[in-house]
């Protein structure tokens, strides 16, 4: 084989690999769907507990026609997005500021280490009393949940910036603010993104949990909670369909964040590593 065709073969290989991966993935999904469908239709498991997959999908599609359900999904998404924005607006500037000076960095990361393991849902009863069951309540808890992972990673990323890079920028006459803008922020950005990714999954879980627990709230969790209260087979189907919808929502958010990471931080291997 000559070098040119070897090179093209090497180039073609990843594409072929991706195609195989795609087919295998589709086969896995199809297999699972078929197995679930058969188990349910053959009556191996009580059909009330495991309705055929196709019925769940049909129900999920039909739910979209329901304006109440759409409003619930909208409310969940809005809370999630606002929560992430507010948390990032708090955590990133503070993280950069605190990360720049070694003693402040140590004190701040000690505090963050203390706050991070606190389960955000423990705050739900208090915030319910103080803020009621509206959007503010959900938002307060979502922000609390998202702030710490972003802050932790920003602190670490800023602290981790190569000191020689900062030194060099300074010796080229870049101002203190310029060093932050041109050296510190670009080199810490992948860490911030890691924090955002972790915060994002926690945040969505927390928003839906709060909606589940807080009576009278709006949102996907509240929808599930309301339907569950009816307790009949039809309501159960709606609970399943809403759970599947929550999964699709989570999947879309994960994919979006993954795409942002690949697009902007593809150069940084650590961006895709870690938790």
């Amino acid at each position: 084989m000559d070098t040119v065709s070897m090179a093209t073969a090497a180039l073609a290989r990843p594409r072929r690999r991706r195609r195989i991966a795609l087919w295998r993935g589709l086969a896995g999904l199809a297999g699972l769907v078929i197995v679930l469908e058969i188990i349910s239709r053959a009556g191996i498991v009580n059909r009330a507990f495991l309705p055929p997959f196709s019925t769940v999908v049909v129900e999920a599609v039909q739910l979209w026609g329901d304006p109440v359900f759409r409003a619930d999904v909208g409310s969940t998404l809005l809370t999630y997005l606002l929560g992430m924005l507010i948390a990032a607006a708090i955590a990133v500037p503070l993280g950069i500021l605190f990360g720049l000076f070694a003693p402040v960095y140590r004190a701040a990361s000690a505090l963050v280490e203390l706050m991070r393991p606190i389960p955000p849902v423990a705050l739900v009863p208090l915030v319910l009393l103080v803020l009621g069951s509206g959007l503010e309540m959900k938002l307060a808890i979502a922000v609390f949940a998202a702030v710490w992972p972003i802050m932790f990673n920003t602190l670490y990323g800023v602290h981790d910036v190569d000191p020689y890079a900062k030194e060099m920028a300074r010796s080229f006459g870049v101002s203190a603010f310029g060093v932050i803008r041109r050296v510190v922020i670009p080199s810490a950005a992948p860490f911030v993104m890691t924090g955002v990714r972790i915060a994002s999954s926690i945040s969505l879980i927390v928003v839906i949990t709060v909606e589940l627990i807080a009576g009278g709230a709006q949102g996907l969790g509240a929808f599930i909670s309301r339907e569950r209260a009816y307790g009949d087979a039809e309501a159960y189907l709606a609970v399943l369909a809403a759970t599947v919808t929550a999964g699709i929502l989570g999947l879309l958010i994960n994919l979006a964040i993954g795409a942002v990471e690949r697009r902007f931080f593809g150069w940084d291997a650590t961006a895709r590593e870690g938790a």
Partner: protein, 285 residues
């Protein structure tokens, strides 16, 4: 497992210079101070704000601490009923759910990491299932398994397993091929290859997953106790809220914060012990 590492790496934490004991003691003191001083400042500020404010929602932190002490240890008793009847069940369910979920996650994650076919077939399913916010599945667990302890443990295990599974699959899947080939060349049996080469090499990533999973386990335990429970810290928290006993409510919140921290510290210690050979293990989260 540390004894089976192929290359004995020098302890990264050992001080390269002399007078190590003196230096180490002083460094530990500084580290403790870095934790205690900010904490003391925050508590002092909070105490000051709470004492001067008239809001009934925010009792002063020292009062919360004293109240928690009384709730757990009572007056004159060794421990209260709340401690044995609520705190211990929560801790037990969290630990059991975490253990089962982690074992399951490592098992499936290893299977996915070892074989490309399994990984590529299972990835879309795993990606979808783990995208469902775990707590949204709680009503399903209640409908399927009822309101007992086994439901709660299954729910915690399910929610926790994804973090461990993903990290194990990625850790096992990204081991350098040379390491595995080396085992083959030396005719190490497949079982020993798995336990002596593959899993130790994937350990740092598995631990990253366990770390997140442990925090999640406590969260899921509390959420499961918010619904249909008859005992547990989450149950006490909701009850205190319903009766407007704000001081008790804050005390249970404080206990949950302490438990969360404790779990984190325990896992940190385990990680340091098991991964002291791995220089980069603690580089990120």
């Amino acid at each position: 497992m540390t004894t089976t590492t192929p290359t004995p790496t020098p302890d990264a934490t050992a001080s390269p210079r002399g007078s190590a004991p003196h230096r180490g003691g002083r460094r530990a003191l500084v580290a403790v101070l870095y934790f205690m001083v900010p904490l003391a400042v925050v508590v002092a500020l909070w105490q000051g704000a709470a004492v001067t404010s008239i809001s009934p929602f925010f009792p002063p932190p020292l009062k919360i601490g004293a109240n928690l002490w009384e709730l757990l240890l009572g007056r004159g008793q060794l421990v209260t009923d709340a401690f044995t009847g609520d705190v211990l069940p929560t801790v037990g369910r969290t630990a059991l759910g975490f253990a089962i979920g982690s074992a399951w996650g490592v098992l499936i994650g290893t299977a996915m990491g070892l074989s490309r076919g399994t990984r590529e077939t299972a990835t879309p399913i795993v990606e979808f299932l783990r995208s469902i916010p775990a707590t949204a599945t709680l009503p399903l667990f209640i409908l399927l398994l009822g309101g007992g302890d086994d439901m709660r443990i299954a729910f915690i295990a399910y929610g926790v397993s994804w973090f461990v599974l993903i990290n194990t699959a990625s850790g096992v899947g990204t081991i350098h091929k040379t390491l595995i080939d080396l085992g083959r060349v030396f005719r190490v049996s497949p079982a020993r290859r798995l336990f002596a080469i593959v899993l130790p090499a994937a350990m740092p990533k598995i631990f990253a997953g366990l770390r997140i999973a442990s925090t999640a386990a406590l969260l899921l335990a509390i959420v499961s106790e918010f619904m249909l429970a008859t005992n547990g810290i989450g149950f006490l928290l909701i009850q205190a809220q319903g009766r407007f006993q704000l001081l008790d409510m804050w005390s249970w919140m404080l206990l949950l914060a302490i438990l969360g921290l404790l779990i984190n510290v325990l896992l940190d210690l385990a990680e340091r012990r098991l991964l002291s050979w791995h220089r980069f293990s603690r580089a990120k989260i």
